[in-house]
Symmetry: C2
Subunit: 242 residues, 2 copies
Amino acid sequence: MSNFDVKQEVTDKYSLRGRVFHKLRDDILNGKYQEHEELKEMTIGEEMGVSRTPVREAFRQLELEGLIQIIPNKGAYVTGITEKDVKDIYMIRSLLEGLCARWATEHITKEQMEEMEENVYLAKFHAQKGHLEQLAELDNRFHDIMYEACDSKMLEHQLKDFHQYVLRVRKKTLSSINRGPKSNEEHEKIMEAIKAGNADLAEQLAHEHMINAYENMVKCGLHEVYARQDAVQETIDPKVKK
Amino acid sequence: MSNFDVKQEVTDKYSLRGRVFHKLRDDILNGKYQEHEELKEMTIGEEMGVSRTPVREAFRQLELEGLIQIIPNKGAYVTGITEKDVKDIYMIRSLLEGLCARWATEHITKEQMEEMEENVYLAKFHAQKGHLEQLAELDNRFHDIMYEACDSKMLEHQLKDFHQYVLRVRKKTLSSINRGPKSNEEHEKIMEAIKAGNADLAEQLAHEHMINAYENMVKCGLHEVYARQDAVQETIDPKVKK
DNA sequence: CTTCTGAGGATTGTATACAATGATACGAGA
DNA sequence: TCTCGTATCATTGTATACAATCCTCAGAAG
């Protein structure tokens, strides 16, 4: 096993810096802070009852995670994601998810396979019942299982990173439309391909799964979601650019 | 143009933190610090004449860049890269470089095209003369040009990240073997495909280019390079694992 | 009325002091 | 001799103090 935890997750949830990091990340992903909103070290620190030091360190990490942008001697701003960024991410992910499915086919363990089957089964149940919340949760988990099963720390980390990026956008579309059930059907096919040991098919299906997810997102209002934000961006950009 | 500088480069070269970050990164990539060597905040700070604060912040960033691993309350260690990590990186890169070549074909500017042609031409010259140092430099630059030409901040950053990872390994192999000239021939073909607007071919060639680079590396002693380090790793791992 | 300028305040950048944690070594007891 | 506990020290984690920078806005000059 590799001991090379590339871009290791910030697992240190119990240090102040770790707590600040995780809380800020969640807040940004959940939309508590608007895009392009300025984050002040002191304000955040006071809110969480800590000094500026751990906040600053968390900021540096969030910057590399791509969630905020720090302009020297000026401030930290929540990053905006443009329509094109989302498209690029999905194109990149479609390739990597394919590779991941291939490797997962080759390396998945018995336990992981079982969890995957359970996941698909459960999701089918919630789809029938119309439980969108649980469906979204299971959808995320399905991908995580596959990332872990591919047995590559490098790839796993890349994909988890991307997955996180699009969560901000996905939250607004997946649960609102009936992509959920369709998505799970595709999961089932991917799972079957993996179970059958058909790496080529698994790769192909996972690849298409991402393309479909993206196209559905476009069809169901990605543009609307971003229409307002792009306008805001236009006005703010010049100032931010220093 | 996107204003979303994902995982933005640490461009702040003039703050102390920025300088520490860049110097440490260079030192690690250049092998000044051994893999698994412990980096002490105070020692580094004294060497560079700064306090621990900017050093700590640089550490947090280097951790997310994957160059060091920080164990809470214990220390920062230069990460090791296993043989499998290198292989995974090249497999991932082969896909992304292909995508990059495709997008570059669609978006490359006149200036970028000219620089690319110049690059190949110059490299051909240095290859004849046996200037391995310049050849390696031009090789890096060729890829950078393509990353920029693909006109995707997301993809560009991903690839630059990976490129950097393997630099540590590549330094030991590319310049030592006669891969240089062969590599440049492949660059030329990729360039021609891009110039001809043949995206499919460019993608294919760039993909193969990576595979070839990896296979050459394996053939030319990747295993030997890592034989020693893997041994060291075995002994250090348990301690590091906390 | 517009434009330049500079003083003041707000915010980030860095250094230092203190707290908490982990590693080590030594000695007592079995 | 071996093991366990404890004292001590080295190192990291956090808070605070101070320095540097940037932004704002009032006021003077044109």
